[in-house]
């Protein structure tokens, strides 16, 4: 079967891309999207690891579900987080007609 390392590399790449998005984007919405990307990287990592660990002991039944469980939770939480974030971004848009985080700096220093 495919070695775990490749999955990990993939998730790492995805995670870093998400990170880059957070840093590079100026639109709040896109930033949130990039965060979702990072979370999905986490999921890949988890599930890969879980399946790998699950088959570690050959011949036995699939034993280690933790990864998948965590992934499911993460997806749920991510969804909630997304909703919350969008709500707040909406407020911002209402109040100042833009979601550009460059302009959101009333408070600094």
């Amino acid at each position: 079967m495919v070695d775990l390392v490749y999955f990990q590399l993939l998730s790492a790449a995805l995670f870093v891309i998400g990170m880059y998005g957070v840093l590079a984007r100026r639109s709040a919405v896109l930033i949130v999207m990039s965060i979702e990307l990072m979370l999905n990287a986490v999921n890949i990592n988890l599930i890969a690891a879980a399946s790998h660990l699950g088959y570690r002991s050959v011949g036995e039944a699939f034993t280690n579900f933790d990864g998948q469980i965590i992934a499911i939770f993460v997806i749920t939480v991510a969804a909630a987080e997304l909703g919350l974030a969008l709500a707040i971004i909406l407020r911002i848009y209402r109040n100042r007609g833009s979601v550009n985080v460059d302009e959101v700096d009333l408070m600094k220093w």
Partner: protein
Amino acid sequence: MPGLTANLQLLTPEFALAGLALLVLAVDLVVPQNRKNLLGWLSIAGLLGLIALSLKMLWGENETLYGGLLAVDAFSLFFKIFFLGLGIFIILSSMDYVEKNLTSRGEFYGLILFSILGMNVMAQSRELLTAYISLELLSFCLYVLAAYARNEAKSNEAGLKYIIIGAFSSAVLLYGVSMVYSTLGVTQFASISAALANPGDVSPALWVGMALILVGLGFKLAAVPFHMWAPDVYEGAPFPVTAYLAIGSKAAAFALVLRLFAEGFLPAVDQWRIVVAVMAAITMLTGNLVALAQHNIKRLMAYSSVGQVGIILTGVAALSADSILPASGVMLYLVGYSLTNMLVFAGLISFFNMTGREDISAFRGLADGQPFLAATIAIGLFSLGGMPIFAGFTVKFYLFTALASQGLLWLAGLAIFSSLISLYYYLQVIRQMYIRPVEEVAEAIAGEDVYVPTGPEVSTSPLILIVQSVTLVGVFWVGVYPAPFLTVIDAASHAILPGL
């Protein structure tokens, strides 16, 4: 699996709390707009009941549920009471503010209750996922609370920054979790420590995973360099929420950190002690130095709490398998710190209710207009600065003694030095309130005092007076005779350090 639902009754307080929160939300629908304070009273009553209930049924318990995901022990009980009490204080001191400044007041209390639930579970959880879920529960409530003043740009901005950075950091945290999981295949603290006990065959990826987890928690703690959201969020959030952030979320995060590091990472202490120590050092220096340059009282308190976090982190760095001193030190410090901060914030909130101002220069001459208010704030600030007969001094001394006992004298020295710096900006506030030019003193003597918030028409509300007086007593009590607190705290430390 057996025992998953065994002794489920031990979770009654949590279920009840959730129920209470829902109840508040439900009642909110029927309570007329002008009677919303009822909800506050309802929550307070419920919290009081919960305190009594928890003490009654959990005292001396030492059990685990769901196959070790949650622990019901002295440690979690201690923090449970801590958070419930804190909730009472926060609601008490926020009622007037909410009435004046916020819409949809019902959900406010409901959210606070939910967040308390999140904190309680955080203190109980002995497994990474559980910890994460509860942490997010807390965080979500806080995101909303921070943005609660819907029509204030500052509040929105606070919410936005908070949630973006929060989500970002939780992603990092999760990534760390996933790495730990992928290297060890376990997520329970106990198993992690078992695996760490013989670190011969673990891959360095594990350390990175732990590092990322530390980052995620560092965000909750607002430890440098993960602190930058704190001042903005503190400034933008509604005043009571700021207090709640400064006290509650930090305490909860520390509860989690303590349990995680004590029960999970302790065998690898040599790996992370220096890391945490350096983090603590940078945190307290940055926080206190930047606080020197603040003009907004909320921002000042934000940076000061960053500095305080640095000092508390030193205790985490000193955690060791052969002494409960550091753990107790951290918890005692949390008690002293929270009481003191509650005292200060109660004063600040009532001041804000009077004047609607939050710049430090607004406090000029407060001691002549509102002597008691000024005195409480001054006492609180002196206590934060670590002056004796107030809690601040005693808890600092205890914590630093713990550091010394672990040979971390340099860190203790740094911490003491940084609290010297902090004293300077606390003095700036006290100076505004008390020290006035000679000619103004003459006016004050002559009775023709120019200062605005004076006299009965503007005065501290009884609710806040309750908070102030209770916390005041607490501050003096911890400062003068902390032994009773310590007996409880030592029990808690024993719970997370079973070896002792």
